[in-house]
Symmetry: C2
Subunit: 410 residues, 2 copies
Amino acid sequence: MNVEIINIGDELLIGQTINTNAAWMGEELAAINMNVVQHTIISDDKLAIVNAIKLAHQRADVVIITGGLGPTKDDITKHTLCEYFNTELVHNEIALVNIQRIFKQRGRELSQLNKEQALLPKNAEMIANSNGTASGMWFKQNGKHLLSIPGVPYEMKAMMEEYILPKFVELFKLTPKHRITILTEGIVESVLATILTDWENELRTDGFALAYLPSPGLVRLRITAPVGATPHALLDKVETLKAIIPEYIYGEGKQQLEEIAGTLLRDKNQTLSTAESCTGGYIAHLITSISGSSDYFKGSIVSYANEVKINSLGVSAQDLVTYGAVSQQVVEQMALGVKNLLNTDYAIATSGIAGPTGGTPEKPVGLVWIAIATPKGVFSQKFLMGENRERTIRKTALSALSMLRKELLK
Amino acid sequence: MNVEIINIGDELLIGQTINTNAAWMGEELAAINMNVVQHTIISDDKLAIVNAIKLAHQRADVVIITGGLGPTKDDITKHTLCEYFNTELVHNEIALVNIQRIFKQRGRELSQLNKEQALLPKNAEMIANSNGTASGMWFKQNGKHLLSIPGVPYEMKAMMEEYILPKFVELFKLTPKHRITILTEGIVESVLATILTDWENELRTDGFALAYLPSPGLVRLRITAPVGATPHALLDKVETLKAIIPEYIYGEGKQQLEEIAGTLLRDKNQTLSTAESCTGGYIAHLITSISGSSDYFKGSIVSYANEVKINSLGVSAQDLVTYGAVSQQVVEQMALGVKNLLNTDYAIATSGIAGPTGGTPEKPVGLVWIAIATPKGVFSQKFLMGENRERTIRKTALSALSMLRKELLK
C-alpha cells in the first residue's frame, strides 16, 4: 500500500515549525509495512490543497492530511474537502459531546467557534480525538482513502496509535517488514563505511539494503531484509556486523544511551551521580528524561563556576591554577568529589571548552575531558569535539554515557 | 519569486531523520522575501526525482534539491539530473582541489569514490562546498532555476549563506518583507485568541496577516505586513498588541527565554543558581546552552534523591515527611538552600511529579512547584502541567525562567 503524507501550514513552509509530524508518521507507517512515497508540505490555501490531493492520489492509495483544523486559524481544509468530495457539513453530536468533555476537563466555557468544530462532512467517517476538539475525517472513494487529522502532535499521535494504524493493518492485511536499526557511537560515517566494505557488499549481494544515518556523536545503520526473507536471516546479518565492530555498537532501534546505561545500573543495583561543567546539566537532563530514573540516579552538581568545583566538589584550588579547569587532574577530582558527596557507586564528570569563545592554542575550543568514577577508582579520556557549541555538548554527553555503559558491562 | 524545496532521502520519508533542512531553508528563503510554495520529500529514486522536478517547475521559478550526493549512499541524483538536462558528467578540477583540501585537513587518503565526486554536469554552474566533498550544481533553463546541493545540514547551510541566498537577492532584485514574531508565555492559544479578537479583526482589516504558533509552554504570534506597508506600520501593530497583553509577552523573533533572562542578569551584574528536582538539570542545560552564560550562572544542584535535598540543600527532613517533596515548603527551602550554597543573588528551584508514575489523588502527575529566591526573599507558584513527562519538564523550565524574568524586570 502506497501512502502519501500532506502537511498543511505556512509555519512549516517558512520554517517556524519543524515538521516532526511527518517524521513520526513516516516511521509508524513504514513499521506496519506501508510504503511512504512522498511528504508534501503546502500552504493553508484552497487551490494548493486541492492540487496536492489530486497529485497525491496518482501516487498513493492512501493520503493522510494533517493540519488546518484548529479553531483560531485561518483554516479552510474542512470546507475544501467538502467541495472536493462534493458533500456538505452536518452537525455531529458525538463530536460535540467530545468538545464539551474537553472543555469541562479544562474548566473553560465553550465558544461559538468551538461549537462549529462539531460540524463535519456528511460522507466522511468521524475519527475521534481524545485529546482535542478537532475531529478527524476519513473519506473513501473509488478504492482510495483520504484521512484528514489535526496537526497538533499529541492529538495526531493518539489518533494514529489508537485508531488509524490498527485499522490500516486490518483493512489492508499488512504484515510487518523485517528491518532493524543498529546504533553505533564513537566512529564517523566514512571510517565505518570503510571498515564495513566487505560486509556491506555481501549484504547487498544477498538482496538486503543498508543506510547510514549519521547525527552528532552517533551513526545509525538501517538494514532492511529483501521481500520473503525470514527474521532469522536479518538477525544473521546483525550478528556478523556485531562481530566486526563490537566496540562501537551500543544498542538498536529507538534505544537511547541514557536508557541503556540506566537499565544496566538498575539491574546491577548501582547508583549514579554527575558533576558537569561544559555539559551544564545536559547529562543529568538526559538521564532524568527516562521515567523511573530515580531508581538509580541521585543527582548532579553542575559546577559551572570554579568556586563550585572547589567548595562543593572538593577540587584542589591549587590544581585548578596549575592544570586549569579543563584537565585530567580536575575532571577526575570532580568525578570522585560528586561520587563521595552524593554517595553513589558511579559518577560521571565533564570539563571542556564548549566555545565559541574561551579557546587557546594549547586548549582549543572543543577540547573536553570526561572522567568516570567507579567503585574501584577513576579513569578519564580526552576528546576533540569540534567548534560547534551545541554539538560539543551533545557529543560529550553521548561519549560520557558510552564510557559508563562499557564500564558497567565489564 | 516562487521557490520549492525538494528533499531527497528514504531516511526522511520513513522518519529516521527529522527534516530540519526544509525548516531552515524555508525560514531563510522567506526572510529574503521569496515565496516558499511547497516542500516535497521523495525517495532516492530516478522516477520520483524526475516527476518531482517537473511538477515543482509548474509551481515555482526556483527549485532547490537537497540530498542524494554523498559518496557512501546509493545515490543517483547527479546522473538523473544529467539525463533530465540532457548533459553529461565532466571532470571539474576546482571540485577535485576542494576534495583534496578536505581530505588533507582530515588527514585521510582519497579513495576512487571520492575522486568521482569531482565529476559534475557540463552545463551546470558549480557551487563550492567549503565544508564537504560534494559540490552543488546550479542549472538554468528557460528562465527557471534548479539547484542541487548536499543534504548534510552544515554543508547545506554554508552553501546557502555564503553563496546562494546573496545571489538570489542580487539576481531577483529582492527586498525584505516586513514580518515579526512576538513570543508569549503562560497563556494557551484559545484564551489568547479570545482576548485578541478585536485587535486581530482590526489587524486583518488593515491587510495584515496573523498566525498562532503554539508549542509546549509558549505561543508565538507571527504578524506579516501587507505589500507596501512600512516597517513603522508593523511596529505600530506590535505596540498595540503589547498594550493588551504586556504580562504574557517575553520577547520576539528567535529570542529564547534563557537568553533573555541571562541578558537581564548580566546587565544587572547578578548571579544565578538552580536547584532542580523534576526538571533534572534541564534548566541548567538551557541556561548553559547560551554562550557566555558563565558570566552569571554559577551552577546547579540536581537533587533528584531526597537525601541530596537534605544533605546538599539543607531542606528540613521533617518538612519532607510532613509536606512531601512536592510542596511549597520544600521548593522554597531548595531555592534558598542553593542560593546560599552557591552564593548567588537569585536561584530557581523546581519540584514536581513529571510522571507517568508517582501520582496520587492529592498530588496528581503534572503537579509542579516552582520557587524563585531573590536578594529580598523567596516566592513560589503551583502549576498543573498535564500528563506528558517531556512536556511537563519543558513547560516547568519555561515557567521558571519566565518567573525569573518578570522578577528581574521589577
